[in-house]
Amino acid sequence: MAKLDHIRNFSIIAHIDHGKSTLADRILEITGLVGERDQREQYLDRMELERERGITIKAQAVRIPYKAKDGEEYVLNLIDTPGHVDFGYEVSRSLAACEGALLVVDSTQGVEAQTLANVYLALDHDHEIVPVLNKIDLPSADVDRVSSEIEESIGLDAEEAVGVSAKTGLNVDQVLEAIVERLPAPQGDKDAPLKALIFDSWYDSYQGVIVMFRIIDGTVKKGDKIRLMATGKEYDITRLGVFSPEMVEMKELAAGEVGFLCATIKELGDAKVGDTITLASNPSSEAIPGFKEVQPMVFCGLYPSDSQDYENLKYALEKLQLNDAAFQYEAETSQALGFGFRCGFLGLLHMEIIQERIEREFNIDLIATAPSVIYKVMTADGVTHEVDNPAKLPDPSKTEALYEPFVRCEIHVPDEYVGNVLKLCEEKRGIQKDMKYLTTNRVIITYELPFAEIVYDFFDKLKSYTKGYASMDYEIVDYREANLVKLDMLINGDPVDALATIVHKDKAYYHGRAVALKLKRSIPRQLYEVVVQAAIGQKIIARERNAPLRKNVTAKCYGGDISRKRKLLEKQKEGKKRMKRMGNIELPQEAFLAALKIGDD
């Protein structure tokens, strides 16, 4: 058990690629926690995907013993948080477990929208923040400019920023000293009733759910009977300890400390992030505030490209959900794609990650339908329904009103691209809320936008409109009534459910024509004419025709030709692409994917 005033709990806030994981690696190395031999890049990012994409998906915590220059032994708990807007709630819970944060800013880049959002989150938690300017060894580093950005946008005194190179290890020791000197020690009463915050949990097939927590008040021992306040369920602690960096068992942990516990909790949903752990025998009277159930915001259909993979896909989804309570799925059937699942995600990145993990870790080829948000539909009888699948939108004649989610979106951009960003936001039905200079040449633009437009192709467009210099952050604010219609795509007269989308009426014509054309172009000539149509209700708004294949015939086939012709046809057949039946024609998977792929070419 560490003394309260010798504990520092901190997180690292940084934009993707600004060097958070590298800095964490150096800290582990300098403190001697991870020897040369055990080193690997991005030590804390356990998932292959995290390491590869350079992002943190799951929160991690590591206890670092550190002997400071004042000769005292300190316990530093680094709580590594996910850095993406999709995981905003998890970030907020991780931050609630700390008293301070390192703000890592790439001195060749500057402050990004996401960084800022997380800094504000940290400030909301009354965190002390130590700015760290990374990559100062690079010739393109502009410490002055970035310092003034930090001062102007966050109001931190950048004079005291630590300039480091996480890559070379330069000045990382100063960062450790700053943590001890400038970040506050936790407060709390180790004799009060137990109150501990769950900031992460995951499923382990041997030990059940492993819970990461931060003790606010009280003391917890191995063998204690705990109660989880949101569910009221009680468990006996079978293992208690800390990660340092591997699991180390401890007899007890007290206020201010960070650790893990196992208590034969079978389902991840029973140990929800944000919940409060207390003792069954001496419960705390109130839970830690801020707990909420996370809800998926983005939905899409996932189908195996090979219908024989259905069971495998189901298995993969079960496995992934074990460790990701925010991810939801349920079985659905599409006429076009067969048996699959409707899946709900926190956001687009979350969706991409899950899809990638299914394809990579479970080796299943997927077809994903276009992502959709949750719409609210008020039917004539005054009842409001939630619709996450465009194919299930009620008939327009029965619909009284349609509502779509709006987000408040902050975009950081160099001033030369402001015009482009405004144009994009206006195109996307945005409502401008604010625009101000962050520094002399960086601007924060605030818009309210339909979430569906963000999900559609906003990121891609923003990137291309600003040559990749913009960063953005958003949060859902409310639902607003909108003039929305369901756009059906028909192939030879049959609607293809998997290609149905909900679009704003003003954009339906443009969108319908674009998808019809895309389909027409990607469908190879068939044996018969293929007509692609876009329709709103009974009204056809776009039509494209694919002329049938004209001639492919062997003129002569006599006794001496038979073997050769058979082999030729056999060979041609092998060149054939995997087909998906849509309507009454067979489509190569490429055509289908092209139609689903959102945005312009």
């Binding site: 044996l527 001639k551 492919n552 062997t554 006599y558 001496g560 058979r566 046809l569």
Partner: protein, 385 residues
């Protein structure tokens, strides 16, 4: 059994042709004849006195052989095998090589009862492009002479889809063809074969084929026209007046056994297939050593099924669905139901009286249909394992 006898000689090589032939000298002709005579005897010994329904002398240009050589060959064949009474005995001939002395009379007397003339075109310019060694006029004379010499069953071969040919040209040509009153007409769309001068010219862009659309119309309108004139479209490229279908070729499409004699000839007997070497001298050696026909390969059940589908679907009669069941134990309609439904909806196939056949529009894209069937067959096989 069907008998095919390959004559590998041509007066000159045509630019589009990938068949095996050479320009002969007297020696080569004699060497060839001796070897074929021996090969006939060899197969007689091996197969016994098997019944033969049809004989087909093809090439090359069989009409380059002297009439007495043809007589000798047919004689040997009918002494070796049980050539049936009334058997169809066809011979391919070039117009310029039949109108000489008493050649037509002699070969008719020798037993040839079906003459297939390689006219290819009645248009002077197109004949020139094809590199044919005869004129349209010679072709007309050849037909007249053949009739006068007793040929009651005459086929004329044509090629369409030629460089510079228009749909109108082809339909006009078909009118002229019909005026010659042949009993049978073969209309082959020009295919660019590998390693031919045409392939090179096509790659170079020196020749340009009619557009896909025009070629499709040549096929569809041409076939309709010939049917109106009383020629049944009984196979993708073949038309015949009632009772004049080529029994020999129908045999191939219906899966009959056939014995091929001569260089490069292919045989299929009892589901085993082999082919003779192309080169004349090697062929002669193989005949002398007796190793000819030692290279047989058994067709797998899968290949037999593929060939059944591929060949039967060439004919207007189509695939007998029961034959598929006999070969595979499965039901064709069930195995391929979604595809059959789609093809049927779009008028590419017809199903009647237990047969499934391609319509004219289906024939036009028959390769694609067959590839799709092959692909679906593989998936069926996959399911079985």
């Amino acid at each position: 059994m069907l008998l095919y006898l390959h004559v590998p000689f041509c007066r000159s090589k045509c630019g589009y042709c990938a068949f095996h032939s050479q320009v002969p000298n007297d020696d080569a002709m004699q060497v060839y004849l001796d070897a074929v005579m021996r090969e006939i005897a060899l197969w007689g010994d091996r197969l016994g006195n098997v019944p033969v329904e049809t004989v087909f002398l093809g090439g090359g240009t069989p009409s380059m052989l002297p009439a007495r050589a043809i007589d000798a060959l047919l004689n040997r064949l009918s002494k070796t095998f049980a050539v049936k009474q009334g058997a169809e005995i066809s011979m391919e001939a070039n117009p310029e090589s039949v109108v000489r002395d008493t050649f037509l009379y002699d070969i008719h007397a020798a037993g040839i009862n079906r003459l297939s003339l390689g006219v290819q075109s009645l248009n002077r310019d197109l004949l020139h492009i094809l590199g044919r060694p005869h004129t349209a006029k010679q072709a007309v004379v050849a037909v007249e002479q053949a009739r006068k010499n007793g040929f009651g069953n005459i086929n004329l071969d044509f090629i369409w889809g030629l460089p510079g040919q228009s749909l109108g040209n082809w339909l006009k040509e078909l009118k002229s063809i019909v005026k010659l009153k042949p009993d049978h007409i073969s209309c082959y769309s020009l295919s660019i074969e590998e390693n031919t001068p045409f392939e090179k010219a096509h790659d170079d862009g020196t020749i340009e084929l009619p557009s896909d659309d025009d070629q499709s119309k040549m096929f569809l309108y041409g076939a309709e026209f010939l049917e109106l004139q009383g020629y049944a479209h009984y196979e993708i490229s073949n038309f015949a007046r009632m009772g004049y279908q080529c029994r020999h070729n129908l045999g191939y499409w219906e899966g009959a056994d056939y014995l091929g004699l001569g260089p490069s000839a292919v045989s299929t007997v009892n589901s085993r297939r082999w082919s003779n070497v192309k080169d004349l001298n090697t062929y002669v050696q193989h005949v002398e050593s007796g190793e000819i026909g030692n290279n047989t390969e058994a067709l797998t059940p899968h290949e037999r099924m593929q060939e059944l589908i591929m060949l039967r679907l060439r004919t207007a009669r189509g695939l007998r669905l029961a034959a598929y069941k006999e070969l595979t134990g499965r039901t064709f309609m069930e195995d391929f139901r979604p595809m059959i439904t789609a093809l049927h909806q779009h008028g590419l196939i017809k199903i009647r009286n237990g047969y499934l056949n391609l319509t004219k529009r289906g024939m036009l894209v028959s390769n694609t249909i067959i590839e799709n069937l092959f692909d679906a067959m593989d998936r069926l096989q996959g399911l079985k394992c």
